[in-house]
Amino acid sequence: MGDYTADEMMTVAASRALDSSDVCFVGIGPPSAACNIARLTHAPDITLIYESGTIGTAPSVLPLSIGDGELCDTAMTTVAVPEMFRYWLQGGHVTIGFLGAAQIDKFGNINTTIVGDYDNPKTRLPGGGGAPEIASQSQKIYITMKQSLRGMVEKIDFFTSFGHGDGYDHRERMGLSTQGPALLITDLALWEPDPVTKEFTVTHLHPGISRQDVQDNCGWPVKFADDLAQTKPPTDEELSVLRDLKARTAAAHSR
């Protein structure tokens, strides 16, 4: 197929981070696409959980919301929302929480609540939903988002969910035993936290992307790994599965 978009590269790269043993709490939007591509390619036995209580779901089209009927109809089981958060998430059964973000900082702290001041916001965003506890209770967190100067900022306007805080051992000092943000997948690069400082560091550039491209779309001075590598381009299979899924989804959501 050869040609692909930056968006497709992001979704495919995110899907590769998952495997069949994962129990993944799926955020809506880009995370949902990535998780389902994983399920439809190399990770057929992955357990996908949406916060509406659907466990082990296998939708044939991407849900518009976290509670579309398709999710329940194809789920192994569906539980009530209090049980979802109490037994399954707080109970420690989720290996990966897969989140999107409106704003993120270099330590993987996320804002989806407001732009500006909380009481007099410039923009009122939807808020956290399940994210504050997904971020603290999943064994680790993957984040996927498109890069932009507005989205990747030195200082987020609101701590909707806690990533690595100020870095270093901040999570441990907060009493958290889970790993926190472990991978950031953007449309330009793969980022992993530095083992010591926990600052997100670019480990892979997507094909055709330069260091300057990454820096031009990021609001903090970007650190690059010494052994910086290149992401493998999407395979023909990955691209065709992704495009088929998107086409089915577009047809299903139109009148």
Binding site: S65, F85, T113, G129, F159
Partner: protein
């Protein structure tokens, strides 16, 4: 004890200005028809509770009926933001409402605490999150056994809870199937519970672990086919995703919103919902995998 009565009567009998009301349904089974009836009867100064405010709270807020909203995710799922809510919070149109904001885990726990007749809920929540700074209803409690500090929030006890469900029987017992959300908890936590249903049947033919709300925890059952639209009722009709997408442009403009509400809510009745789901009546089936 459940009375089977028209929705107009249930709302006029149980609702009044200033009450604290939950309209629950987690994406699935959202009680749109009930909220529209409340809007038509112009019940004001409401404190509204919902995990995911969705279109019905955008509509209640835009019509100026809300004083305060308690919530945990105020978006149009998969589409974007709630534009009437934004206009209220950012520009004070038609007036500025108070927000009490939680996480999903906290609000789900708070409903459960209400159902369990406890004064508060506790969870291992809000760690490192900023909401406790802006919501004084989020406090902490120390475990008397381990010393661990946990988040505590007040139980939710609505004056009135509205939910939508698939079926009731002739006595007024109610069956819910599919995504259950927090409806059972919201009903058991409330002083008054009003349930709209797709239909009334002779027998449920449900399994022994089915989610059934007995008629003695419900005050009114109202038959409103299609009453969740544009949300959905599993087994009856699918979610009208196109309507959710369209709402984004309707709610973006004050005049367009006002004329839409006039045409589709103020000049409409509960009987109009059946027609709105006719093109969606494609019962989903539990599929073999």
């Amino acid at each position: 004890m459940a009375e089977i009565i028209p929705l107009q009567d249930a709302v006029s009998r149980h609702m009044r200005d200033g009450l604290c009301v939950a309209f629950e349904g987690f994406t699935h089974l959202i009680p749109h028809a009930a909220a529209h009836e409340v809007i038509r009867q112009s019940v004001k100064d409401l404190t509204i509770i919902r995990m995911t405010p969705d279109l019905i709270y955008d509509q209640l807020i835009g019509m100026g009926l809300v004083k305060e909203m308690i919530f945990s995710y105020a978006g149009n799922p998969g589409v974007g933001l709630l534009r009437r809510l934004r206009d209220s919070v950012e520009n004070g149109w038609p007036h500025k409402i108070a927000l009490t904001e939680h996480s999903h885990a906290a609000l789900a726990n708070a409903y459960e605490a209400g159902a369990a007749n406890l004064p508060f809920a506790m969870l291992r929540g809000y760690v490192g999150a900023e909401l406790p700074r802006v919501n004084d209803q989020i406090k902490s409690i120390t475990c008397p056994f381990t010393g661990e500090i946990l988040a505590a929030i007040p139980a939710i006890r609505p004056d009135v809870t509205f939910i939508h469900a698939q079926r009731a029987d002739k006595k007024g017992n109610v069956l819910i199937e599919g995504i259950l959300g927090v409806q059972k908890e919201a009903v058991l936590a409330a002083k008054v519970a009003i349930v709209t249903v797709e239909e009334i049947v002779d027998e449920f033919e449900a399994g022994s672990n089915a989610t059934i709300l007995p008629r003695w925890v419900i005050d009114a059952v109202c038959v409103v086919p299609g009453g969740a639209h544009p949300s959905y009722a599993s087994g009856y009709y699918a979610r009208d995703n196109a309507a959710y997408i369209e709402w984004d442009t309707i709610a973006a403009d004050r005049d367009r919103f006002t004329s839409w509400m006039e045409a589709h809510v103020l000049s409409a009745s509960p009987d109009d919902f059946a027609r709105r789901v006719a093109h969606l009546a494609n019962p989903t089936q539990k599929r073999a995998r």
